[in-house]
Symmetry: C2
Subunit: 163 residues, 2 copies
């Protein structure tokens, strides 16, 4: 394919942000992206890197990425979370997503983690069928809960007032 | 209440493991706990600590805990995950869970994170109602996917064979 897989460095964060924005369009949340390139550089390449990114590149162009970070299961131990797996729209169906997925799984196995986990939209049948075909399973009965920045601030302020 | 909240250190990991096991019973997964005390010590107190634990203690006895770690949202930036919030059965309904929850939210707000997230079982109505009352929201349409250690190894071995 002429496609190489490599880990991202600081100078790739602009391309990474473009891929994040493209994924938000696909997931019908176009206005959800608030993170900036400089925040990605700060958070991914400081003293305590918060994530790692695998890129698919062809002739200097970034075509896709897998964005991962460490998590911890109190039942199992060290695990890895796959936050985003995204391929530029015009390069889909070339096997790039699958290649990035394999790269993540190989990395996870090398690290000896107990699990790789991620979240999928329930209407994304193509993705779900692919994941199941690789041995992953969809959990039943668990719901994701978010306390976002604004309600978090409101809640904490209310605590302080009641003391 | 005579209850103090504090951060856990290495010597608390035995109590933390007991609480993890108690939560697994509550969640009807008694055989799911594989992590050991020495793994918790290694992973929480090494050069790259993977988690932080807040404890509720009364007269030297650990009554409950909130187990958290860093995550990263490619839409929002730095976030915190609340992995476990658990109170020993005979000490429930004393406000200890709420106090630990508040401690986590205060810590998260102090850290300036964009979100606190966690997962809840859909039959745990008491917990869900409490979370909603604090401003958190339950996400619609997202499913949790797990690639566990055994299928991960199988999948990766299969990749290597096909090269």
């Amino acid at each position: 394919m002429g496609i190489i897989l490599r880990q991202a460095d600081k100078s790739d964060m602009g391309s990474v942000l473009e891929l994040v924005q493209e994924l938000a369009v696909f997931e019908k949340e176009t206005s959800a992206v608030e993170v900036t390139e400089s925040e990605l550089v700060r958070d991914g390449f400081g003293k305590d890197p918060r994530f790692k990114v695998f890129l698919a590149e062809e002739e200097g162009e970034i075509l896709g990425m897998a964005f991962i970070y460490n998590r911890y299961s109190t039942w199992k131990g060290r695990i890895i979370h796959l936050e985003d797996l995204v391929v530029r729209e015009k390069h889909r169906n070339r096997g790039i997503g699958g290649a990035l997925y394999k790269e993540v799984m190989k990395y996870a196995a090398d690290q000896g983690v107990k699990r790789v986990c991620w979240e999928v939209l329930d209407w994304n049948k193509v993705a779900i069928d692919f994941y199941l075909s690789t041995g992953a399973r969809i959990l039943d009965g668990w719901q994701v809960v978010h306390m976002n920045e604004e309600p978090l601030k409101n809640y904490v302020n209310q605590i302080d007032e009641s003391i």
